[in-house]
C-alpha cells in the first residue's frame, strides 16, 4: 500500500510519522529508562541540529569540514558569556552597568549565536574554500583546534573564557516566564526539566529541518549538489562556486552556533574540553554513515550514534560482567572502536551511507 503512493504522498506520510514520533518520543523513552534516557534524547536532538548543519556543508556542497565543532563552541561560549556572572565578575565596570546581572534572553542569544557562528564560517571560508577537498579538511581541522586552544588560553591577560576551568552558572532557558531548568506543571502534566528542554529542542529541530528541506529543493540546493558532483562543470554553467560555498559554510555554521547556544543553557556549564576533534569526527560520522546529503539518513545516523554510547554502556557493561566476571573494556573504548570500524567499512562498502538518497532508476 505504501509503495502505491506517489513520492509526494510518501514524503508527507513520512513527515507525519516523524512528527508523531517526535511528540511521543520522550514519554516512550522516559517510561523505558527514566529521565537519564530522556536527557540522552535531548543530546541526540542537539546532535541532529549539528548534523543537519554539517550536512549542508559536507552532504550538499561536498566540503569536508573537520573542525565543525568550532561553531558549536562559539555559540556555546557566547551564550555562556551573555547569561552567566563570569563577565561581570571579571569586569566591575560592566557589573556597574548591569546591576540586575547578565541574563540575556534566549530570544536574543540564539540569533546572536547564529550570526557570530556564521561570521566565523565566512572568516574561515573566505581564504580557504578554493582549496582541494583534502587540504580543506586539514585546514578546517586546524581551525577547530585553534578555537579550542584559544578557549583554553584566553584567561590571560584578560580573562574572557576562564581557561580550562570553563564558565559555569549559565542561566537555564527561560521561555515566556517559564524556567526550563525546573520541573513545571503544564496542561495538567508534570514535566521535568529534561522534557521541557526536549520540546524546545524539538521545535528548533523542526525549524532547521524546514529550512534544510526548503534549501534542498531550491535553486541554491541544486547548485550546491552540482558543486559537489563536479565543481568545474558547475562553474562552466555559471554557478558562482565561491559564493555558494561560503553560503553553505555560513548556514551550516549558523545551525552549529544555535545548537551550541542551546547546549550551554541546557548544561549550565561550558569548558573547552567539550569541543574536541573527537566531537567533530562524531558529527561527521553521523552525516557520513547516515547518508550524506539525505536528511532522513542524517537523522537516522544521529539517533543511532547518539544513542550508541548509552546503549553500549547499558549492554556492554553487564555483558562483560556476565561473560568475564568484570568489565574488561570501558564502553567508551568500544564506542571509539565502533566509530573507527564503521567509518572504514562505510567507505569501502557503502560510501553513500546507510540510508542514501534514492533517485529513481
Amino acid at each position: 500500500m505504501i509503495k502505491s503512493l506517489t513520492p509526494n504522498k510518501r514524503a508527507t506520510l513520512g513527515l507525519l510519522l516523524f512528527a508523531v514520533a517526535l511528540v511521543l518520543a520522550p514519554w516512550i523513552v522516559g517510561h523505558a529508562g527514566g529521565n537519564t534516557w530522556v536527557r540522552t534524547l535531548d543530546f541526540a536532538l542537539l546532535y541532529i541540529m549539528l548534523a543537519l548543519g554539517l550536512n549542508i556543508v559536507v552532504g550538499y556542497a561536498g566540503l569536508l569540514d573537520m573542525g565543525f565543532i568550532a561553531f558549536y563552541a562559539v555559540g556555546a561560549y557566547l551564550a555562556a558569556l551573555l547569561s552567566s556572572p563570569h563577565l561581570l565578575q571579571q569586569f566591575p565596570a560592566l557589573a556597574a552597568l548591569l546591576p540586575a546581572g547578565m541574563h540575556t534572553s534566549i530570544w536574543l542569544i540564539l540569533p546572536l549565536g547564529a550570526l557570530l557562528a556564521a561570521g566565523c564560517g565566512v572568516v574561515l571560508g573566505a581564504p580557504t574554500l578554493r582549496l582541494r577537498g583534502d587540504y580543506l579538511a586539514i585546514v578546517t581541522l586546524g581551525f577547530g583546534e585553534i578555537i579550542r586552544i584559544l578557549l583554553r588560553n584566553l584567561d590571560r591577560p584578560v580573562n574572557i573564557t576562564n581557561g580550562p576551568k570553563g564558565i559555569s552558572q549559565v542561566d537555564p532557558v527561560s521561555l515566556l516566564g517559564v524556567n526550563l531548568g525546573r520541573t513545571q506543571e503544564l496542561f495538567g502534566l508534570r514535566l521535568p526539566s529534561v522534557y521541557l528542554y526536549y520540546y524546545l529542542f524539538a521545535a528548533l529541530v523542526v525549524l532547521i529541518l524546514f529550512a534544510c528541506i526548503r534549501l534542498e529543493r531550491s535553486r541554491i540546493g541544486r547548485a550546491w549538489v552540482a558543486i559537489r558532483e563536479d565543481e568545474d562543470a558547475a562553474q562552466a554553467m555559471g554557478v558562482n562556486t565561491v559564493r555558494l560555498k561560503l553560503l553553505a559554510f555560513a548556514i551550516g555554521a549558523a545551525f552549529g552556533g544555535v545548537s551550541g547556544a542551546l547546549f550551554a543553557s541546557f548544561q549550565g556549564f561550558v569548558s573547552p574540553e567539550s569541543f574536541t576533534l573527537n566531537e567533530s569526527i562524531a558529527v561527521l560520522a553521523m552525516v557520513v554513515l547516515g547518508g550524506m546529503g539525505h536528511i532522513p539518513g542524517v537523522i537516522l545516523g544521529c539517533v543511532l550514534l547518539a544513542a550508541l554510547p548509552e546503549a553500549l554502556r547499558a549492554s556492554m557493561g553487564p555483558l562483560q560482567q556476565a561473560l568475564f566476571g568484570q568489565v574488561l573494556v570501558d564502553p567508551e573504548i568500544i564506542r571509539q572502536l565502533f566509530y573507527g570500524l564503521a567509518l572504514i567499512l562505510a567507505m569501502l562498502y557503502r560510501p553513500a551511507g546507510l540510508w542514501p538518497k534514492g533517485v529513481a532508476r
Binding site: R214, R219, A226, A233, M237, G238, A360
Partner: protein, 257 residues
C-alpha cells in the same frame, strides 16, 4: 557581412618556453556552425580553455557581440553568453537528467536564500518556469522520457545530448562543444549531426572542436585549421579540404584528401 558574434584577434599564449598559440584570429558569424580542427597538439584545447575562462591570454582581444570579453573567472563565461560541453562528458551524476538541465538555468534565474526559505510567489513562479524550461529542453534534444533518470544511468549518446541540453539552458550566444563526437559510433555521429544542425537552424551559433574531420566537413559552415598553434587555413569546408597546408599538416607532404 554582418557583425561577427565572436571576434578574436591575435591571441598569443605560451606556457614556459612553449608557444601554444601564436597570433590566432577567428571570426564567428551569428547563426553558423564554426569548426576548429587541427592535428594533436595544435592548440585547439588551449584555445578552447582561453575562450572559456580557464586560462588568460598573453595578448589578444576577444569580442562577443561587439563588446570586450575578458572573463576573470570561469563562472562569468556562461553569464556572458558562452556555454560549453566537455570532451569527457561531465554531468552531475547523482542528479536526474531534469535536475542537470535545471542547473543550466541557474545563471539566468535569481532565486536566492530568502526565496528558497520563504517560497514567495515570485520564487515559486520562477521555480515552475525553470522546471518547465528544463522539460522543454529535454524534449528538444530527444530525452523527454528520461527526466527522472539518474544522469549516469543514461547511455553515452544520451548523456552527450543531456550535456548539450544543459548548455542550452544557459541561453548562450555561443554554444561551444569540445569534441562532442568522441567515443561515438557512426550512427550516433549521424544523430549528433542532425541535432547540431537543428540547433543551428533554430538560430543558435555553434563552435565545434573536433578530431573527426569527416564530421566537421559535413556539418560546419566554416572552419579554421590550427597547426602548431597557428591558423593555417580558414574558410568553408570545400576550400579548406583542398588547402595544401592542411593536407600537409594532417597527412604529410604529397598526399591528397
Amino acid at each position: 557581412m554582418n557583425a561577427p558574434l565572436l571576434q578574436i584577434d591575435s591571441v598569443n599564449k605560451h606556457f614556459g618556453g612553449v608557444a601554444a598559440l601564436t597570433d590566432v584570429s577567428l571570426s564567428i558569424q551569428p547563426g553558423e556552425i564554426y569548426g576548429l580542427i587541427g592535428p594533436n597538439g595544435a592548440g585547439k584545447t588551449t584555445f578552447f580553455n582561453l575562450m572559456t575562462g580557464l586560462y588568460t591570454p598573453d595578448s589578444g582581444r576577444f569580442q562577443l557581440d561587439g563588446r570586450e570579453y575578458r572573463p576573470t573567472s570561469v563562472h562569468q563565461v556562461a553569464a556572458a553568453g558562452i556555454a560549453r560541453t566537455f570532451q569527457n562528458i561531465r554531468l552531475f551524476n547523482a542528479m536526474s537528467a531534469l535536475e542537470n538541465v535545471m542547473v543550466g538555468r541557474h545563471v539566468r534565474t535569481r532565486n536566492g536564500l530568502w526565496a528558497a526559505l520563504s517560497r514567495h510567489r515570485r520564487a515559486r513562479d520562477e521555480e515552475a518556469q525553470t522546471r518547465a524550461h528544463a522539460h522543454r529542453l529535454l524534449a528538444y534534444v530527444g530525452l523527454a522520457g528520461f527526466a527522472d533518470y539518474r544522469a549516469d544511468s543514461l547511455s553515452y549518446g544520451h548523456q552527450r545530448r543531456l550535456e548539450i541540453a544543459r548548455a542550452l539552458a544557459t541561453e548562450p550566444r555561443l554554444l561551444a562543444l569540445d569534441e562532442p563526437a568522441a567515443g561515438m559510433n557512426a550512427s550516433e555521429k549521424m544523430q549528433l549531426r542532425s541535432l547540431l544542425e537543428k540547433i543551428r537552424d533554430d538560430g543558435h551559433t555553434l563552435l565545434l572542436i573536433e578530431h573527426d574531420v569527416k564530421l566537421v566537413m559535413g556539418v560546419c559552415d566554416r572552419i579554421s585549421v590550427l597547426d602548431y598553434g597557428q591558423v593555417i587555413a580558414v574558410g568553408p569546408p570545400a576550400e579548406v579540404r583542398q588547402h595544401p597546408a592542411v593536407i600537409q599538416a594532417y597527412l604529410g607532404a604529397s598526399a591528397h584528401v
